[in-house]
């Protein structure tokens, strides 16, 4: 049976900052939704269903916030679904919304993801003690640092790679008005001199804590034909999961990530991702994850990812720009971060990414991951309608 082609016709983000004290949770999500509707030149009445996502409820201290947010998102009288797949949730949420259109259950769907980290404390939200279980080892950095070490040992990557990524992403963020961190005076030397937090991860190689939301309007062929701006099309989307901890797990390059990418490429007819994909929005919360994911996603051979980074291929003007928006390293409203990757990939192929536009981008990958590198969600968007 054939699926309905799915188009992205509206994108809205909030300006991401450390604390949005001027708005409630409802005010924050409505701002992003409103901007997405404006972009698509649609009204609340045009939306058939709402799919929202965020990271753990403990981050704001509200259990099942979709109940409270129904009014703010114009969902009253409509179906509203709430997805939660850890850090990959922003991506998964968009994919669940995509399926609603693809299955022809609904024609036009609003999807939104958010995090208002200033309402609470994400560190403590992740650190509720459970008897007989491994604690999270002083936040996410503590969990991921040993796997970065493993990558360095395995590939022989010089210890300068991480700082190159951070320096690149923070410079890209200067071109993105919605990015949280705008460090105008940053130099490579400053990144390299920043304090060591979890060896080998330095302060300037970690993501910030942000308040923010991201929304997209997805629609079918008919909806796309009516859209005021060129639509982007979803050419492939997939989710994959594997357990947090088990003997034989490859934390450097998890199988779930490889399988997820392979599924997306199969759907999109991509055989050589390095050549056929024009821009990548990759979930890189700690700088070293760029070279790691370049390998995991099939852009580089095993052990070669760091060489792509080092040679400048992933720079905004390189052959394979990675995180032209500044990425998670510059903006991290956790639950929204995955959707921002998806949305930024979409902006690229719509040609509406502004100062961080990659020239001539026609095909872009949005990537999200979460948990202990165990949940993956990705989509590939293109300027052309799938199947021509």
């Amino acid at each position: 049976m054939s699926k309905e082609p799915v188009a992205v016709v509206g994108i809205g983000q909030t300006r991401h900052v450390a604390a949005r004290r001027d708005v409630s949770l409802a005010g924050l999500v409505r701002e992003a939704a409103r901007r997405a509707l404006d972009d698509a030149q649609l009204t609340w009445a045009d939306i058939d269903a709402v799919v929202i996502g965020k990271a753990p409820d403990f981050f704001e201290g509200v259990m099942m916030p979709e109940l409270y947010l129904a009014d703010a998102l114009g969902a009253v009288g409509k179906p509203m679904l709430r997805v939660h797949t850890a850090g990959s949730v922003g991506g998964s949420t968009a994919l669940v919304a995509t399926n609603l259109v693809a299955a022809r259950v609904h024609r036009t769907v609003l999807t939104l993801a958010f995090e208002k980290q200033s309402e609470s404390n994400a560190m403590w939200g992740l650190s509720l003690p459970i008897p007989f279980q491994q604690p999270l080892l002083a936040g996410a950095g503590g969990f991921f640092a040993p796997h970065v070490r493993a990558y360095m040992r395995r590939t022989g990557a010089p210890d300068t790679i991480g700082s190159l990524v951070a320096y690149k992403d923070r410079r890209n963020a200067l071109k993105n008005p919605y990015a949280h961190l705008h460090e105008k005076d940053l130099t490579l030397e400053k990144v390299q001199a920043s304090p060591m937090l979890w060896d080998p991860i330095r302060y300037s190689e970690t993501c910030p804590s942000s308040d923010g939301a991201c929304a997209m309007i997805l629609t079918d062929r008919t909806g796309a034909a009516r859209a005021p701006h060129p639509a982007a099309w979803v050419h492939g989307g997939a989710m994959r999961s594997e357990p947090t901890l088990f003997a034989g797990k490859d934390f450097v390059s998890p199988q779930a990530g490889k399988d997820c990418a392979a599924d997306v490429y199969r759907q999109a007819g991509i055989t050589d991702p390095r050549r056929e994909i024009d821009a990548v929005e990759m979930y890189v919360p700690f700088s070293w994850y760029e070279p790691m994911w370049l390998e995991n996603l099939g852009f580089a051979e095993e052990g070669e990812g760091w060489k792509l980074t080092e040679s400048g291929v992933t720079e905004l003007d390189g052959a394979l720009p990675v995180n032209p928006s500044g990425g998670v390293l510059s903006t991290n409203p956790i639950g929204a971060s995955g959707m921002i990757r998806f949305a930024e990939a979409t902006l690229q192929v719509r040609g509406t990414a502004g100062d961080h536009q990659v020239d001539g981008a026609r095909t872009a990958l949005g990537h999200a991951y979460g948990g202990g590198s165990q949940f993956f969600a990705m989509w590939l968007v293109g300027a052309d309608t799938p199947g021509g």
Binding site: V62, M63, V96, N99, L128
Partner: protein, 349 residues
């Protein structure tokens, strides 16, 4: 629309306190049960989706550990909703409709015992204006019950009758937590008495979905999902008519529930008064109606939060599997005073 059916349903024995069992331990026998019913192994399942809530477990990412119970290696195509498992079933149903999957495993679990569930549920209220007042779930249900009584739509005697009918029906349900004659008891929050309220329990449930001929191959009598829809209402109780449930009515309409009569209705009504609201919204109160309401005993007999809605779908499907129903309605709810409602229509071949 592609044909999709529930082909297997399993649930745990629901208990007041499962402190000695982890969520994975509670879930695994149920998962094995539904897989054995279909002869499928976890690796044969194309898509997996679960429903649960971190707030019950009292920690973030509680669902990540539960996933281990599925045996998630090699990696699986998987998703999770922080909602009742009925909505996980909805997500899986949509996935099957796209044609990307032939089979899906859906599960849900909830342990209310680690905390005080009445207090925990206050955290799902408006965080700025309402939650700080800690109005608990029984108090909010009592507001709704009183509104119904004031409107002349029910009285305490009728409510007691709903409680008695449900728990009598639960006598034949080996999984039920509360069975047989249960005293109406004192007012817990007037006008609701202890007998009008659900038991607090820990439990898990799972179903397997399959499409078309795959469903026919996996079971003799699939419970076909003829329609499935859900709708949400405003959050603030002050802007809703608590005696009515327009979201249930709309979901039922969209699911095709009113096209022909059903013979069974599994309603997710944790409080007796909520059954009154749902029966009206679903037009189940005709004087000559022969519909069997909550033959399992419903949520008044078994109410593991997060799984109770999925259990309604499972119980309705199981009656079709057993040949006891030809067309059944299943309902699930979320939020205070029936804020969000899902309706499914299931049929035998």
């Amino acid at each position: 629309m592609r044909e999709v059916a529930i082909v297997a349903f399993g649930q745990s024995v629901h208990v007041r306190d499962s402190a000695e069992t982890s969520e994975v331990e509670m879930l695994m026998p149920v998962l094995h049960d539904v897989l054995e019913q279909t002869g499928l192994a976890a690796r044969d399942i194309d898509f997996t989706c679960s429903g649960s809530s971190d707030y019950l477990a009292g920690r973030a990412f509680s669902f990540t550990m539960a996933l281990d119970g599925v045996g998630a290696w090699p990696p699986i195509s998987e998703s999770h909703v922080e909602m009742d498992g009925a909505w996980a079933l909805y997500e899986a149903w949509v996935k099957l409709l796209t044609g990307e999957a032939e089979t899906a495993l859906v599960y849900a679990y909830g342990k209310s015992s680690p905390g005080d569930v009445r207090e925990v549920l206050t955290r799902q209220l408006d965080p700025y204006y309402v939650a700080p007042l800690w109005p608990d779930s029984v108090a909010l249900a009592a507001l709704q019950a009183q509104a119904l009584i004031d409107a002349g739509l029910t009285d305490e005697r009728v409510l007691a009758g709903i409680a008695a009918r449900s728990r009598t029906a639960a006598e034949s349900n080996p999984h039920a937590q509360l069975r047989g004659v249960v005293p109406a008891g004192e007012h817990l929050v007037a006008p609701l008495r202890t007998g009008d309220c659900p038991p607090i329990g820990d439990g898990a449930a799972a179903v397997v979905l399959a499409a078309g001929d795959t469903a026919r191959r996996l079971t003799d009598r699939p419970a076909w999902i003829r329609g499935l829809d859900h709708r949400i209402e405003a959050h603030a109780l002050g802007v809703r008519d608590l005696t009515d449930s327009p979201s249930t009515r709309l979901a039922a309409e969209r699911a095709g529930a009113f096209a022909r009569p059903v013979d069974t209705a599994e309603l997710h009504a944790p409080f007796t008064s909520q059954e009154v609201v749902l029966r009206r919204a679903l037009k189940l109160d005709a004087p000559d109606s022969t519909v069997r309401i909550n033959p399992s005993g419903g949520a008044l007999a078994t109410n593991p939060v997060m799984a109770a809605g999925l259990i309604r779908l499972g119980e309705a499907a199981a009656r079709i599997h057993r040949g006891e129903s030809d067309r059944a309605l299943a309902h699930a709810t979320s939020g205070p005073c029936l804020q969000q409602n899902l309706v499914a229509v299931l049929e035998g071949e």
